[in-house]
Amino acid sequence: MNKKMKKALRETFEAPPPMDKQRFLKTLQHPGSTYLKFLLNQFFYIRKRVWAFSVVIIFIGWAVTFGSPVFIDWKAEAGKIWAVSAVLPFLGLMMTAEIYRSEFYRMSELEMSFRFNLPQIIMARIAILGGGNFVILTALLIFISRVSPFNLLQVIIYLMVPYLITCGVCLLILNRVRLGEGMYFCAAAACFTCMVNIITGSRVQLLYSSSTLGYWLLLFALGGVLTAIQLRKLIKQTEERTWNLLLTE
C-alpha cells in the first residue's frame, strides 16, 4: 500500500479538533503508579551482576562453613568467620557502586524528570539493595552460627564490622570526592578492609577472643553510625550534587 493511499485514508477519518480536550485532561483525576510498583520497577534497574555476586558470596559462605570438617579446633572455626568476613567488604562496595550508578553514568537528569525524584529513587534502590544484603547476611549468619563455637551476637558483629565499615567509608568517599575518581577510592577502601582481614588472619585467635569483643562492638557501632550519617548526607546532597554535575560537565 503506497504512502499516498495511507495519507488519504488517515485524512478521511480525520475528525474536527476537539474543543474541550485540555480542560478535561487538566481536571481528569487518574491514579498514578503505586509506590510498591515503583519499588518493583526499581528492582529491575539493579544490575544482574549485583545479584550474581550476592549468590557467589552465599555460595562462598556455604562452602567455607560446610565444605571443611566441623569443629576440628577453635582456630579453624574462627578462620571460617574470618574468611567470610573478608569477602563482605566487596558486597558493601557493590552496594555503594550501585547506589551511585545513576550519577556515575550521568543519568540523573532523566531520573529527575520522572514523577519520583532522585532522592526517592536512590532511597528505593538502597531499600532494595539493603534488603538483598540483609538476606545474604542472614544466610551467612545461619550457615556460620550452625558450626561456630561463638554465640550469635559475636558472629553478627564479626561479620558485620567489615561490611559496615566498607559501606560507611565508600559512602564517605563518594560524598566528598568526584564520582569518577571516587569509585576507584571505594574499590581501594574495600580492598584495604579485605587486606586488613587477611593480614590479621594469622592472629585469628587473638582477633576473635572474648577480650577484644569490646573493640569489635565499638567498631560495629562506629561502622553503623558512619553508614547512617553518610546515607543521610547522600540523600540530602543528591539534588545539589546533581545540579553541580550538570552545570560543570
Binding site: F13, P18, P31, G32
Partner: protein, 152 residues
C-alpha cells in the same frame, strides 16, 4: 497509566466521531469513556488497557444510539456541520462507506489511529491473521471501487 492519555484522547475521539458523526457528541463520549476507564482499576495495572479503553468507547457509542429516540423531521436542519461534512466527503469517503462497517473500523484502527495488528486483534476479538486478512481485503475492495470511480 502506561498509555499516553493525550494521544489516546485524540484517537478515541476520532473513533467516537467516526461512530457518531457529531463532534460535540464524540467529545462527550470520549470523556465519558476516560472517566469510566479510570473509575475502575482492574485493567489499569494488568490486562489489555488499550483494548479495554476502545471497548468502553464502543459500548458508549452503541448505548447512545440505543437511547436515542428517532427524531422527527422538521424544516430546520439541526446538525448543519454534519450535513456539510457529508457534502464535502471525497471520493475516498464515499468509497469507504460502501465497505462493511467492520472493515471501515479496521481501516480506522490501522491507518488513522495507527494501532498494531495485535492491538486491533485485542480490541475486535479477531485473530491477528483474520485482522490482517480483512484489512487486506478491505483495501483491495477500496482500490477496486476507486478504480471504478475513476473510470466513470
Amino acid at each position: 497509566m502506561s498509555i499516553d492519555i493525550e494521544e489516546q484522547y485524540d484517537k478515541i475521539y476520532r473513533y467516537c466521531y467516526y461512530k457518531t458523526g457529531n463532534a460535540t457528541l464524540a467529545e462527550d463520549l470520549t470523556q465519558e469513556a476516560f472517566l469510566k476507564y479510570f473509575a475502575q482499576n482492574s485493567y489499569m495495572e494488568y490486562g489489555k488497557k488499550l483494548a479495554y479503553l476502545y471497548t468502553v468507547a464502543r459500548n458508549l457509542c452503541i448505548d447512545y444510539f440505543r437511547r436515542k429516540q428517532p427524531e422527527k423531521l422538521t424544516d430546520e436542519l439541526q446538525d448543519t456541520d454534519f450535513i456539510e461534512r457529508l457534502e464535502m466527503r471525497s471520493t475516498l469517503r464515499q468509497a469507504l462507506k460502501t465497505l462493511p462497517e467492520q472493515e471501515q473500523e479496521l481501516l480506522l484502527f490501522r491507518y488513522a489511529n495507527e494501532l498494531s495488528v495485535g492491538e486491533i486483534a485485542a480490541i475486535t476479538g479477531l485473530s491477528r491473521f483474520a485482522v490482517y486478512r480483512r484489512i487486506k481485503s478491505a483495501l483491495a475492495s477500496l482500490k477496486k471501487l476507486l478504480g471504478e470511480e475513476n473510470s466513470l
